[in-house]
């Protein structure tokens, strides 16, 4: 399965809905999308990963890169994920401390800390 990406705006947040597999082959597409959003002035991103079937370290690297970019503009990057097998990868790499991870898009959009 390939990677699918779609974006929409809710208030000042941009939701990036990701589906499929994020790996060494598809991660560059996600990177391009995040870079483009930041270049266009979207600094508060919510990456909805509920449709993601597979995530590897290349994908993690892209998300960390995205976080770095939005932070340079005092922005935020929040994740939405309820899937245990994906959450496990964030835990073993210690990235649960780096990313705010929410259970729903609504929760992520409402979050302000």
């Amino acid at each position: 399965m390939d990677l699918s990406l779609s974006t929409r705006t809710v208030g000042d947040r941009t939701i990036v809905e990701v589906g499929g597999e994020i790996d060494v082959y598809t991660a560059p597409k996600l990177r391009e999308q995040l870079v483009e959003l930041v270049n266009d002035g979207s600094y508060h991103l919510v990456v909805d990963m509920e449709g993601v079937d597979f995530l590897d370290s290349t994908g993690l690297g892209v998300l960390v890169g995205g976080l770095k970019r939005v932070r340079a503009h005092e922005g935020s990057l929040r994740l939405v994920c309820n899937q245990e097998r994906i959450l496990k990868i964030f835990r073993i790499t210690g990235l649960t401390k780096v990313f705010p991870i929410h259970t729903s898009v609504d929760e992520a959009v409402a979050a302000t800390d």
Binding site: D23, V24, D56, S57, T58, G61, I89, I92
Partner: protein, 137 residues
């Protein structure tokens, strides 16, 4: 002779094939269903790292994946043809530090996931060897 041996040209698009094949052979060998996600992820990480090493060093040889059904365990070896990289870094440090970091992160994921893992440095390149217990099928 391994149960299944896979050779693929060092292109990112083939990593998915490698991890799917590995997961399927693991399932047949009797690896617990709950561990198949780990097999898929760990083999994907090892293959991504090997692909990165080959590409960054201009190595034309394919990446080799050996899948072995053994007594009470299923083992995987992912073999690259770039010597001097057991720690995950490209030898010249390169102009591609990001790819280096990804290799390191890949190894971190593997060691976090797999209990039995070994990184072996050989004369012609490195091998990441991993195994999972199997149950009788």
């Amino acid at each position: 002779m391994p149960t299944v041996e896979l050779l693929f040209s060092a292109q990112p698009e083939h990593v998915r094939t490698a991890r799917l094949v590995a997961a399927q052979v693991a399932r047949r060998a009797g690896v617990d269903e709950a561990a198949l996600d780990e097999v898929r992820l760990a083999v994907g990480e090892a293959c991504s790292r090997a692909v990165g090493l080959h590409r960054n060093n201009g190595v034309q040889e394919p990446v080799r994946v050996l899948l072995n059904e053994e007594e009470k365990k299923f083992s995987v070896e992912v073999v690259d043809e770039v010597p001097g990289n057991a720690t995950g870094s490209a030898p010249d440090g390169g102009d591609d530090a990001a790819a280096d970091d990804e290799g390191e992160m890949g190894l971190a994921v593997i060691s976090g996931l797999v209990d039995d893992v070994e990184v072996i440095e050989g004369e012609t390149g490195g091998t990441i060897r991993m195994s999972w217990p199997t149950v009788a099928v």
